[in-house]
């Protein structure tokens, strides 16, 4: 009805705030699926960046599969002539290193561990952040103060040096442990921003309704709060992944992390120390691992950007601005 007091025009059209109190839980769940899973997926796929990002990512997953099932030769020294240039021979398409290792096999066989590391690191970072953020934000009071103080301290420790010291101390070999180690304090900043989101969500009418009906805290957090955080979490999952790529390969390159693990950073390190800096002939030894790194992070960034566009109301609003009047009308009719 046009005369309802709430029916003012600036009612935001995104689902985030459009959920009203008088909708039943079942309706809300199906709406939740529609609004948070199906529609975003469609919008995300419509964005070129998401498509390109996913496609590039698929290439890396493909490489990982090739490596895991041993569909391409494993790297070993003197399997080929030394320093063959790239694109010179079919058997070594990307050329070889100083010690006669096929560069393509090096790159392919590094992929599974890197992907594993990325997934472990980002799951860890976002997982801890969600737990800390929702608990602190929803419970408030002493829980909030303690958790946030811890976050503040953790946030103040510079990541890379801490990781280096921890790596030296524990000398981890397992890629999953490595991933977690690299993002050991990444959760703090993310947890803090999630907390402030939870603070807003918990004031929403349906959360308040659940609370008044005596629904337990874990249930409210799981059913009402976490689903609303998912967009933000997904985007940050991707960014955490990118950080793992950057940091891990940097540390492998530096030689802080164990050489026994196959990694583009290790290849880069050998190239750097093996004299590839001094001659153009060995440039490919440096370049191809770099390209592998950049491709993966490009894929992650594109994915993050594409999803950000879906989830970020301000980007979305802007997108839809040219058809604002249409929307205004749709909006108006919702009241009937």
């Amino acid at each position: 009805m046009p005369t309802e007091a709430e029916d003012s025009e600036p009612v935001s059209w995104q689902s985030d705030s459009g959920v009203s109190a008088d909708v039943t839980r079942g309706e809300r769940l199906s709406e939740l699926f529609e609004e948070r899973v199906r529609k975003p997926a469609i919008v995300a796929w419509a964005d070129r960046r998401t498509r390109v990002g996913l496609s590039i990512l698929a290439v890396y997953v493909g490489m990982a599969i090739v490596a895991v099932f041993d569909l391409y030769r494993a790297p070993s020294t003197n399997q080929a002539p030394q320093l063959v240039g790239p694109f010179e021979s079919w058997s070594h398409p990307l050329g070889t290193t100083m010690s006669g290792v096929d560069l393509l096999s090096l790159i392919i066989h590094s992929t599974p561990d890197i992907l594993l590391m990325i997934i472990a690191g980002s799951v860890w970072a976002t997982g801890v952040a969600v737990v800390v953020g929702t608990l602190a934000g929803y419970k408030g009071g002493a829980t909030d103060r303690v958790l946030m103080s811890i976050s503040d301290v953790v946030m103040a420790i510079p990541g890379l040096p801490l990781v280096i010291i921890l790596a030296v101390t524990f000398n981890p070999q397992n890629p999953i442990v490595l991933g977690i180690l690299i993002n050991i304090n990444y959760w703090a900043g993310l947890g803090r921003s999630l907390r402030s989101q939870v603070l807003t969500i918990r004031e929403d009418s349906y959360v308040e309704a659940s609370r008044t009906m005596g629904v337990g805290t874990p249930r409210i957090i799981l059913k009402d709060i976490v689903p609303n955080l998912m967009p933000y979490v997904t985007v940050n999952f991707v960014f955490a992944a990118r950080y793992v790529v950057f940091a891990s390969i940097g540390l492998f390159f530096l030689g802080v992390l164990p050489y026994s693990v196959q990694n583009w950073g290790v290849t880069l390190n050998y190239a750097y120390n093996g004299g590839a800096l001094f001659t153009w002939e060995a440039a490919h030894w440096l370049l191809f691992p770099m390209i592998a790194i950049m491709g993966l992070s490009l894929a992650l960034i594109l994915l993050g950007q594409g999803m950000d566009r879906v989830f970020n109301p301000r980007v979305r609003t802007r997108l839809a601005e040219s058809s604002e009047s249409t929307r205004e009308t749709d909006d108006a009719t919702e009241g009937y």
Binding site: T3, E4, D7, P10, S322, T329, Y336
Partner: protein, 360 residues
């Protein structure tokens, strides 16, 4: 000038000394494919309060922006907006140069937006907004601020506190009143208000309305009050205009428009209005949806929802017809509207002013 008065008499809207005249104003988007304001013609009498009513998305905000030639970027405004600073002078607002437009806006015709919070820069003190405005119009800042204090006091605000506060430090009602003061700063002739009270609670709405009447008297401004809330504006306006789907459908003096409404939409709107006295079953939501700007139907745009609609309605757009002096309506079947759609709050509405008590 002769053509102007000719049109006026033909339209029969009863305006004798217009301060603003809008003629055939249309706002289009997407290279003319989408109409968000469709051939609207009306006038504003000097020193009156004109209430414009329409549901959200009916194009009433566009109408407000059109009066200041301030349609948001990709939109295109055509038609005429004539401004009469005095009864013998006419200027076309749409012909202004940028510099002239800058001088015209706020100094001649000023505007209060819906949502006062978003109208202030959050990182600037309220007082700085006043100073910025004065400087932009080459006015004396000390004198202007002195005047600002006077308006703020008239709006029952503490001038020193308000001017020295950041927007977020003020309550919604205080912000809204500060914004009204800001809009009056350059002593405009016309004040356009777009849903100025939508974000406020009923009590605050009520008190701001009362203030507006005093302000209007003291500062001698013409007011255009745009809202979706029919009873609210009915308590304030001298004349009213009803918009539906980007067009004007009915206009006339307040009492006639309420008691003798002739457009089926206006009557339906009155019936859908929550009224604390009326039993719930008497409330009649308007069935159907208002058309989107891309598919405004040929003929009368209300035809799809109108109980009186006939083939004629679907085929030809109704022209404005005079109901009585100053009261015009765009409907083929306005004469049948009164008997076909009974006003559910009937007796209450018969005493025109009573509608104003409704929101409470």
């Amino acid at each position: 000038m002769t053509t102007t008065s000719d049109r006026l008499h033909r339209a029969g809207d009863g305006v004798s000394d217009p301060i603003l005249e809008v003629k055939n104003a249309s706002v289009t988007y997407d290279d003319g494919d989408t109409y968000v304001l469709d051939d609207v013609t009306f006038s504003i009498e000097r020193n009156e309060i004109l209430g414009v009513v329409g549901e959200s998305g009916s194009g009433k905000s566009m109408l407000a922006s059109a009066l200041l030639d301030a349609i948001p970027a990709p939109g295109h405004l055509s038609g005429e907006v004539l401004y009469h600073p005095d009864p013998d002078t006419t200027v076309d607002v749409l012909e202004f140069s940028d510099a002239e437009l800058n001088e015209f806006r706020w100094a001649e015709v000023s505007m209060v937006f819906q949502g006062a919070m978003s109208s202030f820069n959050p990182t600037m003190k309220v007082g700085a907004h006043f100073e910025d405005t004065l400087k932009a119009h080459d006015r004396s800042v000390p004198e202007g601020l002195e005047f600002a204090r006077e308006i703020l006091s008239d709006l029952y605000l503490d001038p020193d506190r308000v001017l020295d506060s950041y927007p977020h430090e003020l309550s919604g009602g205080m912000q809204q009143r500060a914004l009204i003061a800001l809009s009056l700063l350059l002593e405009p002739e016309v004040l356009v208000m777009d849903e100025p009270t939508a974000a406020l609670d009923l009590l605050m709405q009520r008190s701001i309305l009362l203030l507006l009447e005093d302000i209007k008297e003291k500062y001698d401004v013409t007011m255009v009050f745009i809202t979706h809330d029919l009873p609210l504006v009915a308590s304030l306006a001298d004349r009213m205009a009803v918009m539906y789907a980007f067009e004007l459908v009915e206009a006339g003096p307040r009492d006639q428009l309420i008691n003798d409404s002739s457009h089926p939409y206006t009557r339906a709107l009155l019936n859908s209005t929550p009224n604390i006295d009326a039993p719930l079953e008497d409330m009649r939501p308007i069935p159907g949806k208002s058309p989107a700007p891309v598919n405004v139907p040929a003929g009368c745009s209300y035809a799809d929802r109108c109980p009186l609609a006939t083939e004629t309605c679907r085929e030809s757009d109704p022209a404005f017809e005079p109901v009585e002096a100053g009261h015009t309506v765009a409907c083929h079947h306005w004469e049948r509207a009164a008997e076909a759609i009974e006003l559910t709050f009937g007796e209450a509405a018969a005493v025109g002013g009573d509608a104003e008590g409704d929101p409470q």
